[in-house]
Amino acid sequence: MELFRLIAGTVFLVCGLFIFGVAVIGLFRFRYVLNRVHVAAKCDSLAVMLICIGLMFYAGTLGAILKLLLVIVLVWLANPVASHLICKVEVETNEHLEEECEVEGRP
């Protein structure tokens, strides 16, 4: 049982770290803010969840598991709001938006 917990936790942690690594690579490979937001903020949503699940396997006690669950809920609520605000500021302040992407409608 102990061994199973260790293996399952490690698998989840490694998957989460892999996704975070991809997010960092993507951050540098894309050129434009709106494209970068996709990888920077988005892979986090999955990576944080996987890492927290891995830590749940390590933690073992009910209290710690519930707290990690709350961490996931908070990140999943805060993450879209943050990236949404970055995008909104970029779209509303950039006068040459059409050079970067096709615009079918503009707020």
């Binding site: 996704i19 991809v22 997010a23 690579i25 993507g26 490979r29 894309f30 050129r31 434009y32 709106l34 494209n35 937001v37 996709h38 990888v39 903020a41 988005k42 892979c43 949503s45 999955l46 969840m49 006690t61 209290g63 710690a64 519930l66 707290k67 709350l70 999943w76 609520l77 993450n79 879209p80 709001v81 990236s83 949404h84 995008c87 909104k88 779209v91 938006l97 970067e100 992407c101 096709e102 615009v103 079918e104 409608g105 503009r106 707020p107």
Partner: protein
């Protein structure tokens, strides 16, 4: 709602002893009294919320599944040879049939959570979305999450 607050308190205190429970009951009573009195909570709304729980849980699991699927596509995109050449970024005005304010917020946040699409702005029933490539763009118009939200609204 008070039950939820008390569960949160127990989760934070990590152990169940008499003193924890006494302090928790007093704190929860004070907070709920204040919220029911001044902040528009009511037992009717609580009952509505309890009725929605199964649909909400199904929605959350579907959301996690969608995030997984879109993330895999995103990883493939980042690790491809020429990420800047492979993408077709565009801002799409997406018209939604979701009516209530709260569900629109949920829809906008889910669109942002799924990699490949970011909600730029919500104006009335139009959601402005920045999609990174055609694949995400297509996924937007056949979004299963939006259908779930519409179903939830119809069943109320």
């Amino acid at each position: 709602m008070p039950v939820l607050l008390f569960a949160l308190w127990l989760a934070f205190s990590e152990r169940i002893t008499v003193d924890v429970i006494i302090v928790g009951v007093i704190a929860v009573a004070l907070v709920s009294l204040f919220m029911y009195r001044f902040s528009g909570w009511s037992t009717k709304k609580d009952a509505q919320m309890v009725a929605r729980i199964p649909a909400a849980i199904a929605y959350v699991f579907r959301l996690i599944f969608e995030v997984f699927k879109a993330n895999i596509h995103m990883i493939a995109l980042v690790l491809s040879d020429d990420p800047n050449g492979n993408i077709q970024p565009r801002i799409v005005a997406h018209k939604t049939n979701v009516k209530t304010q709260g569900k629109r917020v949920a829809l906008a946040n889910s669109i942002t959570l799924t990699p490949g699409t970011v909600t730029v702005d919500v104006m009335g029933d139009v959601v402005f979305v920045h999609a990174i490539d055609d694949h995400s763009n297509k996924g937007l118009s056949t979004n299963p999450l939006e259908k779930m939200l519409e179903n939830m609204e119809r069943n109320q």
